[in-house]
Amino acid sequence: MTSLPETAGARKLGLVIDLDICVGCHACAVNCKEWNAGGHSAPLTDWNAYSGTEIEDGEDAGAWGVWFNRIHTFEAGEGAASRTVHFPRSCLHCEQPACVTVCPTGASYKREEDGIVLVNPDTCIGCKLCSWACPYGAREYDYTDGVMKKCTLCIDRIYNENLEEVDRVPACVSTCPVGARHFGDLGDPDSSVSRLVAERDGYDLMPEMGYKPVNKYLPPRPRRDSDGDYDAPTRLEQLAAEAADTVPANAGGSGLLAWVDAMLSR
């Protein structure tokens, strides 16, 4: 059914993405592709995969394909105050997913038990209307399979009892080298991800559109460019006090080092 579940479950599995520490390495996107090219949504078709050019003999020959996770890099602000922000973007598993309600066949659905939005590839007719309804560009059409594909929150990892418990997280989360991606239950206010969102003022993308995304983004921390921002003087004072405590002990010694110390201290 493409009507949304009437009793929304308490569990809202999703991601929290820390824009302060994402370095834009694309490792999450690559591991997403690697896992999902062999998982629930396999294959994630690529076209002209070895092409180095956009246009060849007037034909569109650019290398492109189906990816569930894409990393944009934005610049915000002007001049010296501007910030470069790497911005991973994938399905946000909205609480009000228009991609689900527009689906004419019932292939798109939102799971009652954990809120994950999925596509049934056996009933999708490939009309692409869901991709028009999604404001976040999360759905990608596989022209070879003729069906729509999207992030499954690695449903075939997070519940997979054949994996070590530590590995039962989405591929993007497990691979992030800087720990910028967090996975958990955003419906539970005491979960580690919910606390992180509360501490860091995590926010929704395009809140004005009203789709209530589950995934949250943590904003870049304020810029630190004066010594005051680093508490530098306080830290130096403390170091100076510690040094003052140790210097007299050396000064009271004898021999060559004590003489050098005394000479250099003049």
Partner: protein, 315 residues
């Protein structure tokens, strides 16, 4: 939005077909036109031909056309599903109405009831088609109060052009349909002019600042996209038409869609009854071509909010 030719053909052809079916249903059951074999045969061939060709064309852009029947199932939430249901249901009274008209030369009484049901089904189907687009909040040019009236009045207009042609060729209240076509054309032009003006002055639905949540830092601009060549989202949603071309195409839509048919219809009104077949036929062709240009613009000028992740400052 990428203007897919199958969808443009579907919405314009089935729009005209349903407009004609609507008028056949009302005029037949109301006795405004003769329930003759020739009128019925040609009229229903055009109406069912346009509707069916459009519906068949609409399956061409599907990845799995053989599963199209599944699209009937989600009418509770999906306008696309409702459109499928309405389109199929409309065939039932429309088919019975055609049987009465063509084989029994009777379009009144119980057959007239089928005609009115067919007219209602035609309206319902066009409403569903329009609502597929009007319900998408992601595209401000579609999520607009004038989209539904635009689809309805253009379906009526193109249907009236074909109906006017039928009455020229096979008799009936010819003047009524010439005037109806003329007035519907003027109404369509008014709705589209108001729509284009309103869309031009509309506030964006989202900005790169709200899309990324980085707006508080200042203007947000794309430094580096996620892929080296265009991906699906950029191809499907990122279609852009130059402002200059859009202006030129609006003029072409105005000339082909309204001005030329209006002149031809006035000529037919001035000619003696039943001798305006050629100008009305040309008016129907020109009007239909104008509506195709209008529909192409409806897609090509639509900006999707996802483009704010791909370099657009607002959409």
């Amino acid at each position: 939005m990428h203007p897919a030719s199958s969808v443009i053909f579907f919405t314009t052809a089935s729009g005209a077909g349903y407009g004609l079916l609507f008028l056949l249903g009302l005029a037949g059951s109301g006795g405004l036109v003769p329930a003759s074999l020739a009128f019925g045969l040609v009229g229903f061939t055009i109406a069912f031909g346009l509707i069916t060709a459009g519906l068949v064309a609409s399956t061409f852009h599907l990845g799995h056309p053989e599963r199209a029947w599944r699209a009937m199932s989600q009418w509770r939430s999906s306008w696309l599903s409702r459109e499928g249901v309405a389109a199929v249901l409309t065939y039932v009274p429309a088919g019975l109405f055609a049987v009465g008209w063509v084989f029994l030369s009777d379009a009144r009484g119980i057959w007239g009831v089928f005609g009115i049901l067919a007219a209602a089904g035609a309206v319902a189907t066009v409403v569903c088609t329009a609502m597929i687009y009007a319900s998408l909040k992601t595209i401000r040019q579609w999520h607009h109060p004038l989209v539904l009236p635009g689809y309805l009045v253009l379906a009526l207009y193109t249907g009236a052009l074909w109906m006017a042609l039928l009455t020229q060729a096979f008799g009936g209240a010819a003047d009524v349909f010439l005037w109806l076509a003329l007035l519907a054309g003027l109404a369509a032009a008014g709705v589209k002019a108001a729509y284009w003006q309103s869309v031009r002055d509309q506030r964006p639905a989202a900005t790169s600042g709200s899309a990324t949540g980085l707006g508080a830092l200042g203007t947000v601009r794309l430094l580096d996209g996620p892929s080296t060549s265009k991906n699906f989202v950029m191809r499907e949603m990122g279609y852009r038409i130059g402002r200059k071309h859009a202006q030129r195409l609006r003029q072409i839509a105005g000339v082909l869609g309204l001005a030329a048919p209006a002149v031809l219809l006035v000529i037919a009104i001035l000619l003696p009854n039943g001798s305006g077949t050629i100008p009305v036929f040309l008016a129907a062709l020109s009007g239909s071509a104008g509506v195709v240009v209008e529909r192409w613009l409806f897609f090509a000028e639509a900006t999707h909010v996802v483009t704010t992740y791909y370099g657009a400052e607002a959409a």
